[in-house]
């Protein structure tokens, strides 16, 4: 089965190795016996988003986000929203997660509108939240851990229409206060975790691939892959997070 992965703004939105998520989706899809095709979609492109099986968008810095905002909201927004309503899985990391919320309010009070796909809003914070993250997620029905690296100054707060992706065990998460990390709406996921996220959390990669396959074929379960190395990387990242928390407030103000 062909599996078409849309990589949004790959030339502009790629921070902290976010492209590793697309590499992971592509390779794992192949190992599952699917035929993945990665389609880069950037400024000025106007594809039919419902034809995609999966949508990915990585993070960017302020300037890069500014560059794509108009194109994202006007040219692509309605198509992306319709695709998510139709059940297309989507993963948005960091800046992309913020852009898919209602708005980002800068420190000066300026409100930069977002797509409103997730019922979340983001306020600029006084310091950056930086460090390893360990979170617990029940997304797949059972309790699994997520590991990653966060680096953001925005504080994101969930509205009633958003469910957190996980609960933070170590790290800052959405806002450093309420213990939530990321957001889920239908099959769309937003998160602050870099790392890259999916290679170190293979269960999440397979969750997204599984949802994509299910939408086309229904009720198909993906086989288990040999994830010995991935699990080792997952474990190596997790105690690091604990170590740093124990090291005393090392998460904030790194810069």
């Amino acid at each position: 089965m062909r599996l078409v992965i849309c990589h949004l703004y790959p030339d502009i939105m790629n921070l902290y190795g976010d492209r590793g998520n697309v590499i992971a989706l592509d390779r794992r899809a192949r190992w599952h016996g699917l035929e993945p095709v990665v389609v880069p979609v950037s400024l000025g492109d106007a594809p039919d988003f419902e034809k995609f099986d999966l949508i990915f968008m990585g993070g960017g810095q302020d300037r890069e986000q500014g560059l794509i905002t108009a194109d994202l909201l006007q040219a692509k927004g309605p198509g992306i929203k319709a695709a998510v309503e139709a059940g297309v899985p989507l993963l948005a990391i960091c800046g992309a997660y913020q852009l898919l919320g209602h708005y980002y309010r800068t420190f000066a009070g300026e409100v930069l509108p977002g797509l409103g796909l997730f019922d979340v809003r983001t306020e600029a914070g006084p310091t950056r939240i930086i460090g390893d993250v360990l979170a617990e997620s029940k997304l797949s029905g059972e309790s699994r851990t997520l590991v990653g690296f966060e680096n953001h100054s925005g504080r994101t707060f969930l509205g009633p229409g958003a469910v957190p992706l996980g609960r933070v065990l170590v790290g800052g998460g959405n806002n450093g206060r309420d213990g939530t990390e990321g957001a889920v709406y239908r099959n769309a996921l937003g998160t602050y975790l870099h790392g890259s996220l999916l290679p170190k959390n293979p269960w999440l990669a397979d969750y997204l691939l599984g949802r994509a396959v299910e939408r086309r074929r229904g009720g198909v379960r993906l086989a288990r892959l040999d994830d010995a190395l991935e699990d080792m990387a997952h474990r190596a990242a997790a105690p690091g997070a604990a170590r740093r928390r124990g090291g005393g407030g090392g998460l904030l103000g790194f810069f």
Binding site: L15, G17, D18, G20, H194, G195, L229, A237, G240
Partner: protein
């Protein structure tokens, strides 16, 4: 023409500024914009080089050869324009020349140096009308299927046939595929090659996939094999013989990872050269650069200081004697630096066992996400050149996953977080007298050095006593704890 050229340069320069502001390194936008404004922008600018342009092609060594030639020409007081190989050749060349021009569309350069992929040679020759065209060697790309090599050779041949009157071809005499290009070529040819005593090492010949004459299909006969299919050969079928090189290296004495001493023979005499880069392929690259410089009319006396002063971009190297085996260190800390190290590692065909050690302490950068922006796919694709990678350090597993997803199979990948055990594991894969290439982040480098200087961690493996002398390479290994990472 001048008005269009001027506008194209202005537009291209504006696009370069925009790309810089946006952090789009290596974007094709400036070249595309300039060519959209004026299609002849590249031709118009290239023709302004006072001493002409040099085209450099071939499978391996393009980048190093170009850098060496650039060192020689700069030493000789010539100003240069220089491209980097990229996806779209003509567009990339246009961007490089636009960048080198002033706001009035005038190029103030003596020589244009253009690295060109084999398939693009005909188009590049048409646009550049180069005064010198240099071909380093032909090897089969690991990813290519059988038959594409002949395709590359044919493309380069078509390009050479388009060379303008007065141009010179500079060809590797020891590579039958390259030397064959000189046969029947209606332009003067300068051949370069090695002169080694004895039968040659024969290294790599068993895996050489080019043993047959491209022109007639007969099996080539070798008097000496220098490396893979490079050597002193002749073809019993069509009479192709290795041409006598006009520029050659004699009495090559390797100085380990510090480089080689050799005698550089040229039509006007011979010169002693202490080449600061190790490996036989560096000798070939130096010969190629010297031949091109001489063809441009550079005084032979300028060639040696240019090459001896050549400082490779991949500084921070140390080699530490480990009883016959050596460890060759180069610090890695971010994607672009790492990608350059990969260029270096794949710059010649010698097999290189690698030890990569990734720590995530403060001085290394605590975020290892940047590993996903390194082109490890290129290492994975080069199976004979990279027989094994030992992944080590605190984040050995992250690195191992990255390598797995880059396509490195389990038989070529070893995971050992402990630095001492990883070093031992790596050295066990190195033949006596060979070199282990060690690519650590900052604190991993400190840890490995401490282990080596202490010398006792694997005493049964390398004889005691020698390790104490291993301090030779203890250069300061500059570079404080620059944090890696793709942005701020």
């Amino acid at each position: 023409m001048q008005g269009g050229l001027w506008l194209a340069v202005l537009a291209g320069k504006a696009a370069i500024r925009v790309c810089r502001l946006l952090g789009w390194g290596g974007s094709t936008l400036p070249g595309r914009v300039a060519r959209r404004v004026h299609r002849g922008v590249l031709r118009g600018l290239a023709s302004q080089c006072r001493r002409g342009t040099v085209l450099i092609s071939g499978t391996n060594g393009k980048t190093t050869t170009t850098a060496m030639l650039s060192a020689i020409l700069s030493r000789a007081g010539l100003s240069l324009v220089h491209n980097r190989t990229g996806a779209n050749l003509v567009v990339g060349l246009a961007a490089a020349f636009v960048e080198g021009a002033d706001l009035l569309g005038r190029l103030r350069a003596d020589v244009g140096l253009c690295e060109v992929d084999e398939a693009s040679v005909p188009a590049a020759v048409r646009e550049l009308s180069p005064g010198v065209a240099l071909v380093t060697n032909f090897f089969r790309d690991q990813l290519d299927r059988y038959g594409e090599l002949a395709h590359s050779v044919a493309a380069v041949r078509r390009g050479l046939e388009l060379l303008p009157e007065g141009a010179t071809a500079v060809l590797n005499a020891d590579d039958p595929l390259v030397a064959g290009l000189g046969r029947g070529l209606n332009r003067p040819v300068v051949y370069f090659g090695l002169e080694e005593a004895g039968p040659g090492t024969g290294a790599g010949f068993e895996t050489a996939d080019i043993r047959h004459c491209l022109q007639c299909g007969a099996e080539l006969r070798y008097e000496q094999v220098y490396y893979a299919h490079l050597g002193r050969y002749s073809c019993p079928g069509c009479g192709l013989v290795r041409p006598q090189p006009q520029v050659l290296a004699r009495d090559v004495q390797p100085r380990g990872t510090r480089g080689s001493d050799l005698v550089l023979v040229h039509p006007g005499g011979s010169l002693r050269l202490k080449l600061p880069l190790p490996g036989r392929f560096s000798v070939y690259n130096a010969l190629a650069a010297a031949s091109a410089a001489l063809s441009l009319g550079v005084d032979p006396g300028e060639v040696v200081p240019g090459l001896e002063g050549f400082s490779p971009w991949f500084g921070r190297m140390e080699s530490i004697g480990l009883s016959g085996r050596r460890a060759f260190f180069t610090l890695v800390k971010n994607p672009s630096g790492f990608n350059q190290v990969i260029d270096m590692v794949l710059g010649d065909e010698e097999p290189k066992p690698l030890l990569i050690a990734i720590n995530d302490l403060l001085a290394d950068g605590q975020d290892v996400s940047w590993l996903w922006d390194v082109d490890f796919e290129r290492l994975a694709g080069a199976a004979p050149a990279i027989p094994v990678v030992v992944a080590s350090g605190i984040r050995a597993a992250d690195l191992a996953v990255r390598l797995k997803y880059a396509g490195l199979g389990p038989s070529r990948l070893a995971v050992e977080p402990d630095l001492g055990r990883a070093l031992k594991l790596g050295l066990e894969r190195v033949p006596p007298g060979g070199t282990l290439y060690v690519l650590p982040t900052y604190t991993a480098m400190l840890g490995l050095r401490r282990l080596i200087h202490r010398g006792g961690f694997a005493r049964p493996f390398w004889e005691a006593g020698r390790a104490a002398r291993a301090r030779a390479g203890d250069a300061g290994a500059g570079g404080g704890g620059g944090r890696g990472g793709g942005g701020g």
